[in-house]
């Protein structure tokens, strides 16, 4: 059972910072904001683990660390296996009376590369085995740590250094993998999407993910100004636009039952509030090539994909 977590903004502000300032993330880095928010949602002793990626690199340059909680990184493709091992160890040490704490939560954090692509095997395995942990996917839609290469999470039409906006092929020709739906198909107890623009919603979902028994998956959109070629001061605004255009709708699936979250529900009820994709695309240089006469038609295609996926989601939520 998931308990509703009541809290106020004041209470959150007063909670200690567990992801500290001083890390080396870029200006406007939404993944850093997401990390800070997630750690505001912890309910007690917690161990975190990151896959290799921007947030691991920028938060732990030896001998410094931004982490005020125990933290481990081992490799890129195995963060869910880290969480599995940590959870299993906590379980047995508790059973043998060797753990000081009544309960310790486990959070695994990874980017899109570490989740959609190289990490999906370990993730799928850990969820199938039913380990009790919260997996947070901070999705900045490309391999940003290695310098903006396309991933399974990169959207259709986006420029990256391995899906360049060429004369023949303008950006990524494939669609973004529906990772959260793939996780729902695992019949796991809790899957949700979140955006740092709706931070209360994000915090609540993170807390629910921790409270639920068994694996929980939280997919968070997290703009990267360097990779998205966007204004560093607009990361939160862009995270909001992603929801308002329905390219990244907010929803929860508790035991496989889909439900739209408030910001997206409003759009479902009043479709006129749904913003055009163009508004979202123009905020990011990675889509700039689509605003040339030659490739303008691709924007229409992107809109089609977004509409199709939104309709599919509405059906799942019983709102079509």
């Amino acid at each position: 059972m998931i308990l509703e977590w009541k809290f106020t903004a004041k209470e959150i502000a007063e909670k200690p910072e567990l992801f500290m300032s001083g890390h080396r993330a870029c200006a406007g880095c939404a993944p850093a904001t997401v990390h800070r928010l997630i750690l505001k949602a912890v309910r007690g002793p917690t161990i975190a683990t990151n896959s290799t990626g921007c947030m691991e690199v920028t938060s732990t340059i030896y001998p410094f660390t931004a982490w005020k909680i125990p933290w481990i990184h081992t490799a890129f493709e195995n963060v869910a296996a880290n969480a599995s091992g940590i959870e299993a160890a906590l379980k047995i040490l508790k059973r043998k009376g060797k753990l000081k704490h009544e309960h310790v939560d486990v959070i695994a954090l990874a980017g899109d590369g570490g989740t959609f692509d190289i990490g999906i095997q370990a993730l799928s395995g850990a969820v199938e085995r039913g380990h009790d942990f919260l997996y947070v996917l901070y999705d900045n839609e490309a391999y940003m740590n290695t310098g903006i290469q396309r991933s399974g999470g990169t959207p259709f039409g986006a420029w990256t250094t391995t899906s360049p906006a060429g004369k023949k092929i303008p950006g990524k020709p494939q669609l973004k993998k529906p990772i959260a739906d793939i996780m729902v198909a695992h019949e796991m107890p809790y899957v949700a999407t979140a955006s740092p623009a709706y931070w209360i919603d994000l915090l609540k979902k993170a807390r629910k993910g921790l409270e639920v028994e068994g694996p929980a998956f939280l997919h968070v959109i997290a703009p990267c100004p360097r990779g998205w070629r966007s204004d560093p001061s607009k990361s939160i605004e862009i995270s909001r636009l992603a929801v308002e255009t329905c390219v990244f709708p907010l929803w929860e699936a508790i035991d496989g039952e889909y439900n739209l979250s408030a910001p997206s529900k409003v759009i479902a009820l009043r479709p006129e509030r749904k913003k055009a994709m163009e508004e979202y695309l123009k905020t990011q240089g990675r889509f700039r090539h689509l605003f040339t006469p030659e490739f303008k038609h691709i924007i229409g295609k992107i809109q089609e994909v977004v509409d199709r996926r939104w309709q599919k989601l509405l059906k799942k939520c019983g709102m079509a």
Binding site: T65, I69, P70, W71, T74, G85, A89, R95
Partner: protein, 412 residues
Amino acid sequence: MVLTTQKESKAIALNGDEAVALAAKQCDVDVVAAYPITPQTIIVERFSEYVHNGEVDTEFICTESEHSALTCCLAAAAVGARTFTATASAGLALMHEILYVTSGCRAPVVMAVANRALSAPINIHCDHSDSMVERDSGWIQIYVENSQEAYDSIIQAFRIAEHQEISLPTMVGLDGFFLSHTLENVSVLPDETVRKFVGQRQIPLVKNHEGKLVPYKLDPENPITIGPLDLHDYYFEHKRQQEEAMRKASEIIRKIHDEYANISGRRYGNGRVDSYRLEDAELATICLGSTAGTVKTVVDQLRAKGVKAGLLRIRTFRPLPVQDILEALQNVKAVAVMDRSCSFGGYGGPVFHEIRHVLYDSGTHPHVVNYIYGLGGRDMSQLLVQEIYRDLARILETGKIDKSIQFIGLRE
């Protein structure tokens, strides 16, 4: 420590894999994470039975790959758990990345490797290609001669890996099928004796960012960061520390082996090398693993004929027992190093590289030749071993080496 009497120990018919599983069970392992692969599978099967029958209190994670199996062990060890895994061949190769991470994180994971050939072509039988690839991975490597030693070595491995001055992962290699699937009488210690010997896992203390000494584990009361980004200003020092731990391990391995001999009555040389009739030997072979049994038989045959033959079995290939090798071979005149793996394009097999390299400093400079044998489970018969000693005798007589490196026991 009290010597276990004959009465307390009991002999059970076990194959190598079963002996390993039983040893791990007796060591009260907290977390086992593993993935099935021939010829290691029996280890995970037996261990699953122990768990499902409530004979052991262990979290057993049946992972979706060996990569995750070792990752789980590494992460569980970082929380303070005693951890064990087992693999072979392609499974070890898939773990390769995490082998380095495990030793780099100084996680004392113990792993059994049922040594098996690497693909392609695919082959499920014994050679040492799989673990030889990993000789530079920062793991202590023990190679055993029989199932009894597999059992004994797993128990010792926990003490070695978890020793506070070492804190390094340890692998025990047992020859696939020759040991993993062959029934032997294994003398088994009582559970309490083993538990007392291995004790509780000790956690070393490290300095945290405030300079305070805290346990080296993921502990919410004393949070530390494990596995950070470590660049040119510190990485080198950390790697140097790993090498230092390896060097220290050599002496500790000997001590733990002695201590174990006190409770079991069994010894394998000094725990690092196991010499057989080497004291006055002129001709010596060097090998790892189960082949030593065959070689010993041939040595006895030759001795009966008055040939001064001997054998040096390397038990710990990592850390390499340099001094032991020098001492053991100081009076030997011709040495044949037997490699059950091939370093393609290199100058002989990996064991040959090391032995000849060590002997360069010996001053006595015996003749040293290399035989690559038994790849993909090809049998190493007494006849072939006799051939090697004949070659050595000829080299000693003529002072001439026709071929430094040869393949033996195959069609050429």
